[in-house]
Symmetry: C5
Subunit: 336 residues, 5 copies
């Protein structure tokens, strides 16, 4: 996510400059034809364009709503993981402290950090409908780095897991699911050994159910895109609208100059104004699109690397460890 004050106007222009080239060409063509070839019949009425504009406003605002909701829900899910981790942490620590099981506490804490790791790696994989292959985003991605695309998962897991656990987990299809299953197994063994009571088991098992819930919710947002037919119709309409706007404005800008200093030249104002209008609608769509997949590794992602680190710090602080890792901070204003 962007963790600064604003994207400036120039950052936006830079980010959408390829769109601007396209919009400029669409605006120049009818203006040139009108002026030089005298194709005055190109100046279609504004009425159908305005009606189309209304439909486009509806569909884009609909898409932006959905997109914002997906982003916000994604953040809520990771918020839920923070909260659950803290509550799970104190229970494990305090249920076991009276039984002098420091070693188990640490194993379970670190396995939890491994689960967080496996989860964020799974969420930052690539899906067919995501936008990180977009030139716009490839370029922008040079401003920051995405840990999950650099470090190897196994290497990171090795820091948190015993050798046995690591060997076991690398063969599994859904590593996060099976890591959490190991937690359940460990806790039940502690019950069988009489270290934990059945009531404590119930509380801890509820916590595990909660983690599965949040993992599954994040996977839902990852694996179920904004429906492709809703998305496609929005793109098609926007393109039709953007194509027609320069034709619809021709007449007004032609008349504008009549009797003024710029008589005969006012038609050229059609170009900047058509670009301006179409750019505004296009940018609204670009903004919406860029929040639709909140785990794709873009600059507008939910900062799950940062959040996972926050949890690590809080949990290890509970154990009064002293070599806490630093918080992850924004890089060129982008926090991952």
């Amino acid at each position: 996510m962007h963790a600064g004050k604003k994207y400036t106007f120039f950052e936006f222009i830079l980010w959408t400059r390829r769109d601007l080239y396209r919009l400029a060409i669409l605006a120049i063509i009818p203006t040139v034809l009108y002026h030089f070839c005298n194709f005055t019949f190109l100046s279609i009425s504004w009425v159908p364009v305005a009606l189309l504009g209304t439909a486009v406003s509806f569909i884009i605002s609909f898409k932006n709503n959905a997109s914002y909701a997906r982003l916000w829900e994604a953040r809520q899910i990771y918020g839920g993981i923070i909260n659950g981790s803290r509550a799970f942490g104190v229970m494990i620590r305090d249920f076991l402290s009276s039984k002098d099981k420091k070693y188990d506490v640490q194993v379970i804490f670190y396995r939890h950090l491994a689960w967080l790791t496996a989860l964020r790696y799974q969420l930052r994989e690539t899906r067919a409908w995501e936008n990180m292959d977009d030139l716009r985003n490839i370029e922008y991605a040079r401003n920051y780095h995405t840990a999950e695309k650099i470090d190897k998962l196994e290497d990171v897991l090795a820091k948190y897991l015993s050798a046995d656990d690591l060997t076991y987990i690398v063969t599994k299809k859904n590593k996060a699911t099976q890591l959490m299953a190991l937690q359940s197994k460990h806790i039940n063994q502690l019950v069988a050994a009489g270290v934990l009571s059945e009531l404590q088991l119930q509380s801890l098992q509820n916590a595990i159910t909660g983690f599965y819930d949040n993992q599954g919710k994040a996977e839902r947002i990852k694996n179920f895109p904004y429906p492709r037919h809703f998305s496609s119709i929005a793109t098609i309409m926007l393109n039709l609208f953007v194509f027609l706007v320069p034709y619809g404005l021709l007449n007004d800008f032609n008349k504008l100059g009549t009797g003024t200093l710029i008589e005969g030249y006012s038609i050229w104002l059609n170009i900047p104004f058509a670009i301006l209008l179409t750019w505004v609608f296009n940018s609204l769509d670009v903004v919406g699109e860029s929040s639709t997949n909140p785990f794709e590794g873009s600059a507008n992602d939910v900062p799950i690397t940062n959040i996972s680190r926050t949890i690590e710090i809080d949990m290890r602080d509970m154990l009064d460890e002293t070599d806490l890792p630093p918080a992850i901070t924004p890089e060129n204003n982008i926090l991952m």
Copy 2:
């Protein structure tokens, strides 16, 4: 669901081509009458058409909202089933492992897979208000296959159930409900036999309550359509609007040519523009309608066959089985 990048413009045109024929006829009639029969009085004012357009925008955007919400809720429900299944899986496995009850674990796991099967078959049955009898969808359905419409339910259940369970369940009205009831019975027998504790029973019974919740929610979406009076008024208004648009634009396109190269011929532009505008509104409605019933077996369904398989893989992976079935992948971009 569509699991690719986009529906292309041409796929959309192909998909809605029957609507296009109808819209073309509606646009050609007034234009021909105006031009050849000189019925210039057909060029009604745009004012009432625009007002109707506003009402149509409201009702269609309302319908698309509801439709999107139904689709998204359907996916959330199945997400809940994934999460619940994982949590139920680890509890069953770990509560019974210390008691050496591997056999019961497997029976309960596979009965759970049978429940998933019965549920997806029930959800993919046909309802009067669904759209799979629509030519548009019949045609498109050739691009993919729906497992629930090919394999017989009993054959699939036989893979997961003991002979006794199978014989019992086929006589039941709501098979999914009674399969879950068998789970409850089995678990209570394990309590009576002293294998599970009462507290463990409570946790497991809560999981069963959770499955009933999600099953019931999915059945609600299946059995309670987008209210037919809301749906019908939307169709009626859209048709009235689509009928009037070509009349409302006549005047503008007639005047467009005045004094230009195409004087006297510009009226023909009414046809493509009327088609364009009405197609846009019609397509918005088609998109909304096609997500209204997210379990009808259409290309825009929630991919419940795929999700059920994902659960099967995860649960059998928990038991460290080695012959896991493959994930279900998209066919021509369509994931079922």
Copy 3:
């Protein structure tokens, strides 16, 4: 609810024909005065009408949103009752089966069906703000029948309750509440008798709390109408708008004929177009209004008779009873 494909255009016309008569009169008056009496000053500007139209669109779309939300929540509540009933059913059956308490199981199951019965009777009573005294609905109600308005409650309860329970319950103010209270009493007696454990009691008591929740939610929708001031202002504005539309269109339709075949007669087109436009807005309101009270016994109700029967079938199927009652099916497409 309507359980078919669509309300046809003609069913809608039939249903709203009384409104059409009224709208026709409102459209004819100014047209006749304009044409025959030469009251050309009646052709007020479209500007204030359009602004009023915007306000009316807002308020009607607001009302339809609320109305749809009430209908959908009502269905969710009854969905919750289905889910809760299944979960309660398996708990009662399986908690008691090991103790050989078949008789108690059946008494509790049937008392639950009695609760469902009392609840649906209470919900189908009449409230001052409901619309079943509307001519439109009285007429349409001949197409189907509402069980709760035909069979006597006591007679139906007698099928499910012991004589003692029946005698006790008929004296009570809120019968559903006190029937559920009897369930609580019975279960606590089983605990006192040592048949059920305290943990099982907790689970069952939670189920009862869940039923009270859903009952209370349904009563909330029943007893708290769409606020009368919101509803009244919508009606008032709609009527003002519907009154002004024919005046606002006079001018356009007068000019339409100029220089055409129908010069001097085009003013009469004002009548069908004014009717069309006002009918569209009026119908939107009628559709919204008809879902506002989802338990009033109208054709657009939540089908609570059908749902209660579904629960009865599922629960008695759990007990492996063989004389299950048939599902309730639609009558002229209307499912109650």
Copy 4:
């Protein structure tokens, strides 16, 4: 709340008549200046007025949404209190019945009624931002009475509490909170005395937590108004709009009469039409404003006196008391 069919048009006019006087003056001034002083330059263009109208529509519909949501949530909260009270009632009655603790049951039941009483008194106190000091509402309030503003709290509490409890509670800051705290104390004493089990305590303590939740939610709506800056900007914009409308319509109504019977007089139509339009927008705002504070004691309040009585009847009916108080019924259609 209004518990009848509708507010009639005339009730609305009566209710908003002071606004009408103001709107009339605003409409008369420019019309008179235009006609008698020939200040024709007052007829500003409709364009800026229409744009302002769009902004006003947005902000008022936004406010009405929020207002309706607050009212509806308030009703949901009290619905939750009904449901919780019934569930708490059966638990107390049935947990204690086997131990022959009739006296405690009654004390706890009546203390619960005292809590309901204290809560509704607290909610019906006055806040700075509420509207009961508005002339409109003072006048209307003569049609009904608000129990909480007539009877003294201590007198009503005395009917439900022992002398000790009453003495204790009157010294407390938040009486409802401390009454519920007394319930917790009493229940824990019964556990200490061995009358209730720990598991029963857990269920009852959860019920108390639920009551605190609902009390706190109601207090949140009471103490956190619709944000004053959102509210103020809506009022300011509405007033600007209402001021400009009569100027914007001057031109249209002046031209209307040209060549008709009323030439030269048509300008006077500006007055009724400007009043009509501005009244419509003003009334939308009035309707929204009047639901913003659902516990202020206005005719559109949530009927908490009535609901509290309903709970009293249901709970005392559970104890098979015979002298149940009557339900509270509407007075001039207003239910408090």
Copy 5:
């Protein structure tokens, strides 16, 4: 939050006066150029401005929705903290009272107040995207004071914590998290000592989980701003719109004077009207922006200092303390 009746029109003008200066300059430039330099070609058509206006309305209303939702959720979270604190309070008091553990009760109560303190200090820290560095807000902030920016955290904590706890907590990264972890530790020690039962532990541990939930939710709103790309595009569009409005109105105001007293001077009306219109849209955005960060210390914050004090009063009142601190009251109508 503002706890009075209204922000007056003049307070709003004062608050936004710097915007007014800017808007005035934007309006004066084209008017002067048009009138004195005869640059009549500056009077661009209203059509593109109106379309842009629609897009701006959408994006601002979208932003205000999100902003209001963030504010309201923030208040709900703190409402949840109130409710949880009361329920936690009675449990601690009543679970321990029978065991005569008054000292522990007080330590836990006061540590809870310390947690509330640490939390509100953390929430009132500064973030890069917040608006308290805005001149508008710096100025307004002189009307009230923010306790968290005046008193030192350690000094306040010292009032609630033992010396040991204080020493321990000041070294921790997230003080609120570790204070709540101390509560968990204390409670588990009481269980180990046999003072609390395991079931009571479960209830209390749930309460702690609830506090972590609410803390985490508040931190989510604090740390995850309204997405910067959504916010930036809104600002950019608003500025473009505000820039174009005075050009779009030139023509209308020039024509207004024709044939009236003010012929030739009516163009100057462009300035006040352009300011009025652009100020309205600008103020809508300012209102939205000022609720986006509900914990930044602005006049429109959620009053967390006041709420924390309310909890302190309620909890200490439960212990029948007599020297309760006073409630925090508004200062110049602003409640913090």
